[in-house]
Symmetry: C2
Subunit: 349 residues, 2 copies
């Protein structure tokens, strides 16, 4: 509509300033290459024309895009928002753009090849990318940082995730030491989920450390899903398996656990202690409020993005970063008096 439909180009500026386009470009990219007087001319011309360099033309010429890509397949889920929040904060403060790729549809190979062209580097969440794609991108020299997933054998791709094992160890130890629990159910996450793997290791180590023997019958599937966890617990109860606590693998599964226990008439925490993992937004609102481990998901986003930018800039990076998790004691383990009505309507996370 307006006359500024096509904005000024570098050649317009050059003409107005009476210099060559190379000089404008130099002024833009490294001011020190231009004399003070010329710089002033250029500045004036740019201002007059309201010149803004065309980033796409620049991308094409430099083969840099100033954009990082986030590859993720499941947008749902509580952790996504804080993760993205951290990523955005960091990309913004380094003046990078953020492009989101999801691999819901199997258009993988079309889009993946686009990735390296549209972005200077990729943040890859969980198993959003298969090993082959990962290997291919990495070997093509494209910077990648993995989130909540370790690198396939032989690929030195930096990883950022959370300290699952230690937190899991502490949760289980807490149930044993403070609440005198002896038969603690563990619900596994989805197949091949690394978070779940380490949580299970932490669980086992805590048992061992306290002289409790590992009982296979206490291990069941939760899939980080309330329905699956609900079903698993029902089965456990029906089969008459004895237990006095449930470590549900994550908070989402804890919802199903609490439900199943409630339906079976089992009191939490009086009869059964329950603990989750993640400290999702709704954890304090469960009944009773859920004891869990706080996963610093926003920090994961921040740290992973920082690592990626360092990688892009060819600065040194850490091969593996484990961010510390923090125990959050609420009522479901038995720590606080769950009869206080206020506890069920918390105002603070």
């Amino acid at each position: 509509m307006k006359t500024n439909k096509d904005s000024a180009t570098i050649r317009d500026v050059a003409r107005l300033a009476g210099v060559s386009v190379a000089t404008i470009s130099r002024y833009l990219n490294n001011g020190s290459l231009v004399s003070t007087e010329t710089a002033e001319l250029v500045r004036a011309a740019m201002a007059e024309l309201k010149y803004v360099p065309h980033p796409i033309a620049r991308n094409l010429a430099t083969k840099r895009t100033n954009t990082v890509g986030l590859v993720i397949n499941d947008i749902q889920g509580e952790f996504f928002t804080p993760l993205l929040d951290g990523v955005i904060d960091t990309t913004e403060s380094f003046n990078y753009n953020l492009l989101i790729f999801t691999s819901k549809r199997s258009s993988h190979h079309d889009r993946l090849l686009l990735g390296p062209i549209y972005t200077d580097g990729l943040l890859v969440f969980l198993d959003s990318l298969g090993e082959n794609d990962l290997r291919e991108l990495h070997e093509a020299g494209h910077p990648i940082v993995l989130i909540h997933q370790s690198a396939p054998a032989g690929l030195d791709i930096p990883v950022v995730t959370i300290e699952n094992k230690r937190a899991s160890f502490r949760i289980v130890s807490h149930l044993i030491e403070q609440h005198n629990r002896r038969r603690i159910v563990f619900l596994q996450g989805p197949q091949n989920n690394e978070d779940s793997y380490w949580r299970e290791i932490g669980y086992q180590e805590a048992l061992k450390d306290h002289g409790l023997e590992f009982d296979d019958a206490l291990i069941s599937r939760g899939d980080f899903d309330r329905f699956v966890a609900h079903k698993s617990l029902q089965t456990l109860i029906q089969n008459g398996v004895e237990f006095d606590a449930v470590f549900s693998g994550d908070d989402e599964a804890a919802i199903g656990v609490l439900r199943a226990l409630s339906e079976a008439g089992l009191k939490v925490p009086q009869q059964i202690s329950v603990a989750g993992f993640d400290d999702q937004r709704l954890a304090p609102f469960l009944n009773p409020p859920l004891t869990t481990a706080h996963a610093p998901t926003d920090q994961v986003g921040i740290t992973a993005t920082q690592q990626l930018i360092q990688l892009i800039r060819q600065e040194p990076t850490e091969p593996v970063i484990l961010l510390p998790t923090e125990l959050v004691l609420r009522s479901s383990c038995g720590c606080q008096n769950p009869l206080h009505p206020e506890d069920t309507v918390p105002i603070i996370r």
Copy 2:
């Protein structure tokens, strides 16, 4: 590392196929322009070289980017995930990329000018963009769709939002008709928030429709914030204002309301009915489970993106789309028996 460091260009393909670059380009963009035999040659050459067109070069030449931008300032908040989910689904199915802009930092004017170059169109959420920026972009002919915010006077920018007034009317009518409430508190959202504005109108119309008179003393601020709502309700109670229900404006504020009522020893829903708006993930987990209106946020994302793509393609669009909201009756209004323990550990949203 590998030999494919620099991938094949259109000229490589042209050489191998023994045709001109223009022919390759034509084959790529409109197959019907090249003869069947030539097409076969081109196809073979492309396959042999594993040729993939360089999207950025294409962007530069065509001035189209196949990318839509989402401008949003608050990543936090429950509604963001479903919104984004809808946007991603839709951009993916139309083969568009998605670029996220946030305007946390006031680097507005640097980045905004980038917007139109990096993207073919913008989804603008709430008040992420000031009226001036909006006007400027719109007048420069850049496609925009507004989400949860109506267009500034004189700008015919399509809008997608939810049907606040009707849902609000139904909630309040429900409290009056089914639960015989007469003095219903309404907590306003943040200043100038349009959702809140229409919810308040709906509230007033429902009162009027049922012959109840509007009482200024029952209106207070909630700001869609649990702390603000908590404080407001405390004040109301201290001042001895009589009321028998609270419509908290949104679910987040309802948390503070429930807390304040619980602290004051007021029973929900026996003495006071409470209703929220949005149907956030945690609404069923509040105590008692919250009666609210379900906001179809994922649909908002889908619809807005569809509108934007239509706008980009110069197809006709709707000036305003109001998506229907749905009443979700739980216990906090008095509808279900809140003493059933299962109700406080729901397994279904």
